[in-house]
Amino acid sequence: MAKEFKGRVVLAEDWSGEAIVSTVGVNTLATFQKSAMKNNPKEALCGDQNNPELYGRNLTGKALCLPQTIGSTTGGMVLQTACDMGIAPAAMLFSEHIDSLAAAGIILAAVWGKNQIIAIDCLGEEFLAYVKSGMRVQIDKDGTVRVEG
């Protein structure tokens, strides 16, 4: 059964795919730096030792569901670079208001780059409690997110 959540559009397109979930803040630099440093990486395996939910898991092309991002202020640039390299998540679905670093990365990629990351925020605590890694999510341009359980 699908459950529907309504968020605020930061950057939206119609999309559907697999969810990967972190119930704690995602440290962008720690998450992407190892994968991004590889020569022509094909995927982003989370390198954040402090995040057992994501550590070692592939984030590329998935809908990363999270409260917010945290950590170093290189975060936005790292996200933009991951996006440019084609290894970023396809979408970022925030239960809370998007933070300044994730917002920067998504906007920098959209204004200056060739690829984009879909971003919906303010989806609420219930969204993050409901969605689980591996579930299918469908995103509509208006900020509606359907999670298929």
């Binding site: 930061v10 803040g25 440290n27 630099l29 720690a30 730096q33 991004a36 440093m37 020569n39 030792q49 402090n50 409260p67 917010q68 991002t69 945290i70 950590g71 170093s72 202020t73 290189t74 975060g75 936005g76 640039m77 933009q80 670079t81 440019d84 390299m85 208001h97 998007i98 933070d99 300044s100 670093l101 917002a103 920067a104 990365g105 906007i107 920098l108 990629a109 959209a110 204004v111 200056w112 780059g113």
Partner: protein
């Protein structure tokens, strides 16, 4: 483009391309950024010298080099010269073997020289401008209380907001540069009076002064990006920001920002806004988090040990992330000297590297303590240990550190200052 912010005629004109396509994209980025946070307007910078976070010429950050090229081709420079985070390498003072040099030079920091050339064209202050502690007296990028600034580097932003009372959001790399170029930043978050109010009361109830890096970690992990109002530190640190308090707040802040996403903290009776407004800074309904000895112990116990051999003898020790202040260099020199003497050793037993800003090191070299420090066998450099550690070879070494930021981003293992001294100075039974 559609936007919600109220812009001045000049800002609107730039957005429509009056100053060329590249400035149009700079302004578009700032407006989209501001709109995302419901900023009502742009506000001018009152301290225009920026501090940039991306100091490393990693081959993979092509988008940064492309943007820098675009800015240079458009003849765009910052109004005032900016400082930068530390460089990643210093072969003279942080020795690397052949393979490490090969990895650094041929695979990782392949663009360092090219990138520094780009930075100079856009507005880099000088060759000494590379430190995460640009706000120290010797470095001199010091905003006043109330100044609006456009900085990045999480440890510098949290220090500027909290200890200096400047106003800055946790800007990402490139956003800080764009604000500095445009001379304006979106007005939201930590720029506003409301955004500077505390969501949390942190009650420090420990039996002695907490390790700054562990207290910061515990706070960051709990409050994430919220603003904490810390009570119970002034009995340890006093009510004036002297050199000791400055160093403590620098290290604590860096841990709050890297273990969480704190951009501003208040310390009762000590930091400028807490001294001025007191508990009026605390929001109604703020949550309370008590930090006692048990919380600190649990915080340390929660750090994963990433060494392959968890019982390995450390091969390298980094002290100084963020960069050490002049008083900290003096303190570490004294502590290393005393502990070596106590243990009957003449040199450090683990290769030990202290990091500090180039301008601080220049000042330190003029003192007798510089000679004393070198006598211990420790070395001094201005690199970013985090950037040094970010290679597959360094990552395999058993590296120890007293920095919670370095621990968070690398395989380095955290030890308290006292534990670092015991191991580095060869205390028996360790």
């Amino acid at each position: 483009m559609e936007y919600k912010m109220k812009l001045t005629d000049e800002e609107k004109a730039i957005l429509q391309g009056s100053q060329g396509e590249t400035m149009q994209k700079v302004m578009r980025t700032l407006v989209l950024y501001g709109d995302t946070f419901d900023a009502e307007k742009m506000v001018p910078l009152t301290h225009k010298a920026s501090h940039l976070v991306t100091s490393f010429g990693l081959g993979m950050i092509t988008p940064v080099y492309n943007i820098m090229d675009e800015l240079i081709q458009a003849g765009i420079v910052t109004e005032e010269k900016f400082t930068m985070d530390p460089r990643p390498l210093d072969y003279e003072n942080v020795k690397c073997n052949f393979i490490e040099k090969l990895v650094f030079n041929k695979f990782m920091y392949t663009k360092q020289d090219d990138y520094e050339a780009q930075l100079k064209k856009v507005g880099l202050k000088d060759d000494n401008a590379f430190s995460c502690t640009c706000y120290l007296e010797q470095v001199g990028n010091i905003p006043k209380k109330g100044d609006v600034i456009s900085w990045a580097e999480s440890s510098a932003v949290v220090y500027a907001n909290s200890v200096l009372g400047a106003r800055c959001n946790r800007n990402s790399a490139l956003i800080e540069l764009f604000g500095s170029i445009a001379g304006v930043v979106p007005y939201f978050g930590l720029l506003t009076d409301e955004g500077r109010k505390a969501d949390w009361i942190i009650e420090v109830k420990t039996s002695k002064i907490p390790e700054a890096q562990v207290l910061g970690s515990a706070i960051g992990l709990k409050v994430m990006e919220d603003v904490p109002y810390i009570v119970g530190l002034d009995p340890y640190l006093g009510t004036e920001i002297d050199a000791r308090a400055q160093a403590y707040l620098k290290d604590m802040g860096a841990a709050t920002a890297s273990n969480g996403a704190v951009g501003l903290f208040h310390v009762e009776n000590l930091t400028p806004e807490a001294k001025e407004h007191g508990r009026a800074l605390i929001k109604e309904g703020a949550q309370t988090f008590v930090v006692d000895d048990k919380v600190l112990e649990q915080t340390i116990a929660g750090y994963p040990i990433m060494w392959k051999d968890k019982e390995a003898t450390p091969k390298l020790c980094f002290i100084g992330c963020p960069h050490l202040s002049l008083s900290q260099l003096d303190d570490w020199t004294a502590a290393l000297t005393e502990n070596l003497e106590k243990n009957g050793k003449s040199k450090v037993q683990v290769r030990t590297v202290l990091t500090s800003a180039p301008d601080v090191i220049e000042a330190f070299k003029k003192t007798e303590n510089y000679r004393r420090l070198l006598q211990t066998g420790a070395t001094l450099t201005s690199i970013c240990p985090l950037m040094y550690m970010n290679n597959p070879i360094a990552g395999k070494k058993a590296v120890m550190t007293n920095s919670n930021k370095l621990r968070t981003y690398t395989m380095a293992r955290y030890y308290t200052d006292a534990e670092v001294l015991e191991r580095v100075c060869g205390k028996e039974g360790i």
